[in-house]
């Protein structure tokens, strides 16, 4: 008993809805060919450097670049191992090497670096200022064991690149990490990302290891100060690895390699070397170009365009 007019209106509405649905899905899926997905680590992502680079890249290359994964190094690597992304940008040499050995990635390209800082309360109760990193850690542990109310260390405890670096420093200081981990209330396992860890260290007037860029970003809200700012032991090298299309068919290897080539190009290296100058008074990164020795990267993997082609199916 409904009027024909009513039926027609319903039909029209449903058709319009379907057309919209189809258009949207078409638009979404069409993007795939020119779409690059990157997994990276939060300490790099949070600085905004990647977004700046991506903006430039997409302007010159009419591609879509997305960074769906920017949590811990662990989840980034996992995304790479599942072929859910096309490109990995992280800062953990040991795991990167393993990644390539297991043929999940094509090749490693170092393109930028900075340093970790050991930060802590201004009055420096463990007296680390002026020491090198491993001696600083030694001092913190000793004083922390005897006086946990005064001296504390917060760890990220999340197997991130920063956490890996921290573990290697404990080793360099002569300790077994699992011993450090369970030795007492002075060592606080926060299981948190870098920003949250810094905030906790701030609240508790504790020491922690942080990457330079996150610290600079949070500095305004913290009373913590950097006590040790450089040295080989605190080197933090960022590399890019394209995911291997043989092992993970469907990844956009072409575009990944294109992006890596852009990362190592003089133009992009310039962007990297000056990023943050205005906002923080000094740049947050050092360009990889010309600094291969410092970074400890071999000539083949340091700031050169990609070699491995995408074996195409």
């Amino acid at each position: 008993m409904l009027s024909r007019g009513y039926h027609m209106r319903i039909t029209l509405k449903i058709s319009m809805f379907l057309v919209a649905l189809i258009t949207v899905s078409a638009a979404l899926s069409a993007a795939d060919e020119g779409r690059l997905k990157i997994a990276t680590t939060s300490s790099l992502y949070d600085t905004g450097l990647l977004e700046s680079i991506v903006d430039q890249f997409t302007e010159e290359n009419s591609a879509t670049v997305q960074i769906p994964s920017h949590g811990g190094t662990g989840i980034a690597i996992a995304a790479g191992q599942k072929g859910d992304v096309d490109l990995l940008i992280v800062h953990d040499k040991a795991r990167e090497t393993k990644f390539i050995e297991e043929e999940d990635g094509l090749e490693r390209r170092c393109f930028a670096y900075n340093y970790f800082y050991i930060v802590g309360p201004e009055d420096d109760p463990a007296g680390v200022s002026g020491l090198n990193a491993s001696l600083a850690f030694k001092s913190i542990m000793e004083k922390g064991l005897s006086n946990p109310d005064q001296v504390k260390f917060i760890t990220r405890g999340d197997l991130s690149g920063t956490h890996s670096k921290e573990q290697s420093l404990w080793k360099a200081a002569g300790y077994n990490y699992s011993a450090v981990n369970t030795s007492g209330p002075w060592y606080v396992d926060a299981g948190s990302p870098m920003g949250a860890t810094l905030i906790m260290a701030n609240e508790k007037s504790a020491y922690t290891l942080t990457d330079m860029s996150t610290f600079m970003a949070y500095k305004g809200n913290l009373t913590l100060v950097p006590l040790i700012e450089g040295g080989d032991e605190l080197l933090n090298v960022y590399s890019a690895i394209a995911i291997n299309p043989d092992k993970h068919p469907g990844v956009n290897c072409q575009l990944a390699n294109q992006f890596i080539d852009y990362l190592v190009s003089p133009q992009c290296q310039e962007i990297i070397g000056t990023y943050g100058q205005e906002e923080y008074g000094k740049p947050l990164f050092f360009k990889g170009e010309g600094n291969c020795d410092i970074m400890g990267c071999s000539v083949e993997e340091c700031v050169v365009p990609t070699q491995a082609g995408c074996a195409q199916a």
Binding site: G71, G74, I75, I77, A78
Partner: protein, 228 residues
Amino acid sequence: MEEIWNGILRAIELIVTLNPEVMEITARSLIISFTAATLAAAIDIPLGGLIELRVFRGKRALVDLIQTLYGLPTVTVGLLVFLLLSRSGPFGSLELLYTPTGMVIGQMILISPILIGLTISALRGVSPHIRDTAISLGANEGQVIRTIIKEARFAVVAAVLIGFGRALSEVGVAMMIGGNIRDYTRVLTTSIALQTSMGNLETSMALGIILIGISMILNLSLSRFQGR
């Protein structure tokens, strides 16, 4: 898909072997959220009663506001409470940040709109004649409120269980106020976040399954209770 299946297997493994770390985290989750729900109920149920049964200007707006706050993002509440409990905040001297007590407080704030709002709804479901009967039999305001809450007790208990469930499965407050400190403030939800960021997807899935399992038990109890 593999992860999900492996996650289920891992969950069973963790439970059956009574994995100590998982047991500890689960117990802590339950204790913190249960405490939050109980304490919040003690305040919010009478408060809901007062709001519903009194007449005052702006009552409607207040109830609307409460219902809007049901869906408060947990990170927002986390941030709010963080600012209050931080060393540089008004209650910093209480040293509640990064403690389980702080988490309880945060969760209490998170679920209060739900508890108050659902109590109000529950009370609205009670016949107005009950109120008249209670008053005519000599009840004062407090006694009337208690009587009506008692009449609506099933719906009110349901509200508390819902609040408990929300507290149990939230991560924003737990993370910001608790800090996910191992052996101290680490709970199921923050562990899931950590395991995920580490790429341990199976373990993360397993913990999620345990959490879902607990929620299921909660909801089943709720239905049984209401079915009476």
